[in-house]
């Protein structure tokens, strides 16, 4: 137990180390590479000689590797540049650690990782790698892609950031909120991937979802005055609270109406409600409204006893601040619960007429359910079979096929 665990220390320290190195060198890609080299060295040397201060050891080693890299580059380019760079790095290293600055550094790291010049996949990979401290292997496992694919995404992303000359700094105040929305959406994409795996044979990847929650908590600690950060955190906590009840022992999904609510994680519900309270200081944004919907579910003892009228109102509000066909579809489901399937079917049919969710299995899933409730069984069955054909998650698909079969 004496030797510090490299992986564990890295997880705790990586964001701060990479952030501090980026500030020292002014080169995000170089900082990330140097930090990775330090980890590789730690894996070799710690079992032989355990450092007294593991975080300091990693930082110092990474800084030395960064200086080496700058020297190598400079040797090929310009002796003067070498001197200038070396001087800059060394004087920065002597500055010591300013805790206030570290917070800004980690926040800047989040903004750089989620920069709009990057593709959405690259933002996700880079955020998990440099802010979350996940390895390429872990990211590959989480997103069911190969390790070389993840590595290529990260390398490309670092090049893109360098080529676009993205500065390592917090966005200007005016731009901050807009860019923050981008950071939030990256965290939400990561969470969503964990809470409903978009493909593959598992419904949930809780480790991915919990990583997103940890990053959301970090962001909430760094940006405590942004209600939507708390809104996102609340939404994630309240959604994750249902995880223990969402899958049967064999891994098949259990729908909301069949879930044993005693299995919902009460502590997560409590944390979610607390975050929601902080989110609602000045009226709720899109994440806060979704969290409020999740909170309404969480405080109901059963599907029947749920305040569906309130959920319809919340979806209407969500449709105004963040209109999307998925919101419309969810509103239709809530309307069906509050005032019957006929009115809900009209909303779904409008969506189909406008062709606003082409190719999604969600539209025929909902339409099939509504038709079944209206007693139009052959039509319902056809819709559910169509939904199964369009669905990429095997677990969800088998539930759809089972429902369709039950209608014959």
């Amino acid at each position: 137990m004496g030797t510090p665990d490299v992986e564990a220390v890295w997880r705790i320290e990586s964001a701060r180390i990479v952030a501090a190195l980026t500030r020292f060198t002014g080169d995000f890609g170089l900082a990330e590479d140097a930090a990775q080299e330090a980890v590789a060295e730690a894996l070799v040397s710690w079992p032989h000689a355990a450092p007294a201060n593991p975080a300091g050891w990693l930082t110092a080693t990474a800084r030395r590797r960064a200086i080496d890299a700058i020297r190598r580059r400079a040797a090929l380019q310009d002796r003067y540049a070498l001197l200038a760079a070396d001087l800059a790095v060394n004087s920065a290293a002597e500055e010591g650690v300013d805790p206030d600055r570290i917070d800004d550094d980690v926040l800047a790291l989040m903004f750089v990782s989620c920069h709009p010049v990057l593709s959405p996949e690259a933002r996700v990979a880079l955020t998990l790698r440099v802010v979350g401290g996940l390895s390429s292997e872990e990211i590959a496992r989480a997103f069911l892609v190969s390790v070389p694919t993840v590595q290529a995404r990260i390398t490309r992303a670092k090049k893109t950031i360098a080529a676009a000359r993205v500065p390592f700094e917090l966005p200007a105040a005016g731009e901050r909120r807009e860019r923050l929305a981008g950071v939030l959406s990256v965290l939400y994409v990561i969470f969503t991937e964990g809470s409903t795996a978009t493909s593959g044979d598992r419904l949930l990847r809780p480790d991915v979802a919990y990583e997103a929650i940890r990053l959301a908590r970090t962001l909430a600690a760094l940006q405590p005055d942004e209600p939507e950060v708390h809104g996102l955190l609340a939404l994630c906590e309240l959604t994750a609270a249902r995880f223990p009840a969402r899958t049967a022992p064999d891994g098949s999904p259990i729908l909301l109406e069949d879930q044993d609510r005693r299995r919902w994680d009460i502590s997560a519900v409590r944390r979610g409600l607390a975050a929601l309270a902080r989110a609602s200081a000045r009226g709720l944004g899109p994440y806060g409204l979704q969290a409020a919907i999740a909170a309404t579910h969480a405080s109901a003892p059963s599907v029947e006893a749920t305040d569906w009228d309130r959920i319809v109102v919340l979806y209407e509000a969500l449709g105004r601040v963040a209109p999307s066909p998925v919101v419309e579809l969810n509103r239709a489901v809530a309307v069906a619960m509050a005032s019957g399937p006929a009115r809900a079917l009209a909303i779904v049919d409008e969506l189909i007429a406008a062709d606003r969710l082409p190719g999604s299995h969600l539209v025929p899933t909902v339409r099939g359910e509504l038709l079944a409730r209206l007693g139009r069984r052959p039509e319902a069955r056809a819709e559910l079979e169509l939904a199964a054909r369009l669905c990429a998650n095997q677990r969800e698909r088998s539930v759809l096929l089972r429902k369709a079969a039950a209608l014959s």
Partner: protein
């Protein structure tokens, strides 16, 4: 992510050492808590009152017997806790090593099973 409880187990000696420099201990503890909050891992943290003010309900007889004070002798006392949401036991241990604990005290790292692991009522 699994949850771990870091249980502060002080002794009479370490508690006395802590009280001698309580201001500094409070400041470093606050810093440490802030660090865990910013890492997104802290779920809850509480310190407990002086054990002399506690009460023990003893179930060794037929009816519960209520007495003052926690133990006959106080070699190790449950003094407070941090509840962490971390990726591994190793990570919990690394956090535990960073707790500004007074010399002579111990920290116990205990896993908190997820609600899906606890046997449910009526099953």
């Amino acid at each position: 992510m699994p949850k771990y409880l870091l249980i502060m187990r002080g002794t009479d000696e370490s508690n006395a050492a802590m009280m001698a420099d309580i201001d500094e201990m409070m400041a470093t503890t606050r810093q440490f808590i802030e660090e865990m909050v910013k890492a997104g891992v802290l779920l809850a943290a509480e310190g407990l009152d002086d054990p002399a003010r506690s009460v023990v309900v003893d179930f060794s007889g037929e009816a519960p017997v209520v007495t003052d004070g926690p133990y006959g002798e106080t070699k190790e006392l449950f003094g407070g806790f941090f509840l962490l949401d971390v990726a591994s036991k190793q990570e919990a241990v690394e956090w535990a090593k960073r707790v500004p604990a007074a010399r002579g005290s111990k920290i116990e790292v205990r896993r908190v099973p997820g609600s899906d692991e606890v046997p449910q009522v009526g099953e």
